[in-house]
């Protein structure tokens, strides 16, 4: 596929994106450094498990839905979660592939991207509905929570339509403009929004894994699981 578009759209797809991406990276770097500067609670107790193994295991928790009751008992919710997040990666990936390596966005590849975007759009609608109607979710929801999920859902829809025209050899459409304008907004907005949770995810998981792993709660099969008093 070729990305035969006007100079203006190309400018939006490339230079503008790079500037916004740099801004996002700086904001994330500040967030990460701020957290890294916080003191880590000490662990001077004799360990029963391996804190490093615990941290790795905890980071990969996302791929082990059976490890948490909340996902184990709710595999449908977990499947939605996985599809949604794969779609996020693909949609953001598309904003790089289209201007930089359009030849990769062949019709079969484009269709795969579109399938995930369509599914994620439907999942997004379901999540909005859930946030609005399930009392225990509604009570904890802030406007940012609603805005984030609505934004993502619209983003998937826009991406889907833009790719539909792309598939039909119409790389420059109003939809593609909207898609990239949204991407621009995303890059500027996300560091301030809950959507940036993926930056915090490793911190939370590593903290959890080090604590519970070291105590032999989560990585029982790692070395030194059975702490033995001598008789």
């Amino acid at each position: 596929m070729e990305n035969n578009v006007s100079h203006a759209l190309l400018f939006l797809e490339e230079e503008v994106q790079y500037i916004c991406l740099t801004f996002m990276a700086i904001m994330y770097a500040i967030k990460i450094v701020t957290l890294l500067k916080k003191p880590v609670p000490p662990e001077k107790a004799e360990l029963k498990g391996d804190r490093v193994a615990g941290a790795f295991e905890s980071l990969l928790n996302i791929l082990r839905p059976w490890s948490m009751e909340s996902t184990r008992n709710n595999m449908y919710f977990y499947a939605e979660f996985m599809i949604f997040h794969i779609a996020v990666a693909l949609t953001i990936g598309a904003t790089f592939l289209i201007p930089l390596t359009p030849q990769i966005m062949t019709p079969p590849v484009t269709v795969i991207f579109m399938v995930f975007m369509a599914l994620a759009f439907l999942i997004g609608l379901r999540r909005i509905h859930r946030r609005l109607t399930v009392p225990e979710i509604r009570i904890i929801s802030s406007p940012d929570d609603y805005f984030a999920i609505i934004l993502m859902t619209v983003f998937f829809a826009t991406g889907f339509i833009a790719l539909y025209f792309w598939l039909n050899k119409m790389p420059e459409t109003a939809w593609m403009w909207v898609f990239f304008l949204m991407t621009t907004f995303f890059l500027l907005y996300v560091p301030f929004s809950k959507i940036s949770h993926y930056i915090l995810y490793p911190f939370g998981r590593v903290n959890f894994g080090r604590t519970f792993g070291g105590r032999g709660v989560t990585n029982k099969k790692a070395k030194d699981t059975n702490w033995n008093p001598t008789l």
């Binding site: 957290l35 890294l36 916080k38 003191p39 880590v40 609670p41 000490p42 662990e43 001077k44 107790a45 004799e46 029963k48 498990g49 905890s58 928790n61 996302i62 948490m68 009751e69 909340s70 996902t71 008992n73 709710n74 919710f77 399930v134 009392p135 225990e136 979710i137 009570i139 904890i140 929801s141 802030s142 406007p143 940012d144 929570d145 805005f147 560091p191 301030f192 929004s193 809950k194 949770h197 915090l200 995810y201 911190f203 939370g204 998981r205 590593v206 903290n207 959890f208 894994g209 604590t211 519970f212 105590r215 032999g216 709660v217 059975n226 702490w227 033995n228 008093p229 008789l231």
Partner: protein, 449 residues
């Protein structure tokens, strides 16, 4: 008596000044304290919640009291998080309500008090089920710590800590009374068949194990000391009980006061060193085990001895055939076991109790949720020391009561004195025909001597 009674606890007595409501001065002080409580775990836990709601079914409060949606974990934590966001969230500087930020007001602080003292036992079951790894144990303790510093802390909880501070144990048992109690228990033990030579050594220098107790034992449950001592004697374990800092509880874990937590730990460390013991041995107490085994080394900066629990020791005695048991003494009884959150989920011990139970009894049935996934009974986090929240505590114990009932057990075993009291209350309240026992009480009658 091994020595002349000495004054235990801090030299100068104190009564922490508590307050019944937040004042503007207290709120200003809390604003100053907040940054000092934000270590990496607390900060990531406050910033990292995505309001997915996956923890809602994990908490015994929200599961047992489904009609009150303000008891879901994320809502409770948000009482603290809103304040945190108002200080540290970038977007909150411009659009506070958009991100759910709220400056610390008297109303918000009162909600925080209600939900984080009276609506959370810091059991960390939600943490286990949170995709973001939000650590409620650490986060809620940080919030409690800030409130306690300015005097807004449940009176009875603070009294428990103050008593420990003033008397060296949380029930103000004087040294001479403790020694007399142990001597009396030793006599009772020696009256049992086959136990004529059994001893409960007090202040024995160089003993291998320094056995610690929950003050409820000498005060109300001396038979549990007798049962523990019987098992240790039967196995030929070289142990002692100190006449000084034998109390393994540390309620400063619950009110969040770090200097007190450290002080109580320090007393115990010095006492183990005084007697030259190799092991500090936690008796059957949930938070006490966690406070000794996992928190004490951090509070005091490391220790020159090992720390273990009677559960680990009993399991080891069974695995190595150091004690022989006759299971038939418990025929006709069906047992289930409640895992204390601080022993299992925050302590890594859940296989050992099962080793013990299976060695001593034939009929053992697990509750639906057990091991690290066990529901809190509702008595953790100092909840039993907060009478103002008693109705909610009993209501929150419903899920545990339902699970006990479903096993058909007539004995609910556990290894924690807070759990004992809560389980007894909910078993009575929810009309379950079962009694509550700890593991030493299970083992002692089954010993073949």
């Amino acid at each position: 008596m091994s020595e002349k009674a000495i004054k235990l606890g801090a030299e100068k007595e104190r009564q922490w000044p508590t307050k019944t409501e937040f004042t503007p001065e207290m709120l200003a002080e809390m604003e100053k304290l907040l940054p000092s409580k934000l270590n990496r775990v607390v900060a990531a836990s406050l910033a990292g919640c995505i309001h997915c709601g996956m923890c809602s079914d994990a908490c015994h409060y929200s599961v047992s009291i489904p009609e009150d949606k303000t008891l879901v974990p994320a809502y409770k934590a948000d009482r603290f998080r809103k304040w945190y966001k108002s200080r540290y969230d970038w977007l909150a500087k411009v659009f506070p309500s958009f991100v759910g930020a709220q400056p610390l007001t008297k109303e918000l602080a009162e909600e925080m008090y209600d939900k984080l003292f009276g609506g959370c036992t810091m059991c960390r079951r939600c943490t286990l089920n949170c995709p973001m790894g939000v650590d409620y144990g650490m986060m809620v303790r940080a919030a409690r710590s800030i409130m306690q510093q300015v005097g807004r802390v449940p009176q009875h909880l603070q009294d428990t800590v103050d008593t420990h501070y003033n008397a060296g144990n949380n029930m103000a048992v004087p040294q001479d009374e403790m020694i007399e109690t142990i001597e009396w228990i030793e006599e009772e033990l020696q009256d049992e068949d086959g136990c004529e030579n059994f001893k409960i050594p007090v202040d024995k220098k160089g003993a291998k194990y320094f056995l610690t107790l929950n003050p409820r034992e000498p005060k109300y449950y001396p038979l549990t000391i007798q049962a523990t001592a019987k098992v240790l004697n039967a196995a030929g374990i070289d142990f002692t009980i100190s006449s000084r800092y034998w109390d393994l509880t540390n309620y400063a874990l619950f009110n969040g006061n770090d200097p007190d937590a450290k002080l109580f730990s320090m007393w115990q460390v010095e006492d183990v060193k005084r007697l030259g013991c190799e092991y500090l041995l936690a008796g059957e107490c949930g938070h006490g085990y966690r406070a000794l085994r996992w928190e004490l080394p951090n509070w005091v900066g490391g220790v020159p001895f090992k720390i273990t629990s009677v559960l680990e020791l009993f399991a080891k005695l069974i695995r190595e055939n150091r004690i022989k048991l006759d299971k038939s003494v418990w025929d006709g009884h069906r047992f289930t076991y409640h895992d204390s959150c601080n022993i299992a989920r925050s302590g890594g011990i859940w296989e050992e109790p099962r080793t013990i139970i299976r060695a001593a009894a034939n009929d053992f049935v697990e509750m639906e949720h057990h091991g690290p996934e066990s529901f809190c009974c509702g008595g953790g986090g100092g909840a039993l020391a907060m009478p103002e929240f008693t109705p909610r505590r009993i209501a929150a114990g419903k899920i545990k009561a339902d699970e006990i009932r479903a096993t058909g057990a007539n004995v609910c075993l556990q290894s924690c004195h807070n759990c004992t009291d809560q389980l007894k209350e909910i078993i009575e309240h929810y009309h379950i025909d079962a009694k509550v026992m700890n593991l030493a009480e299970l083992l002692a009658p089954a010993l073949i001597l």
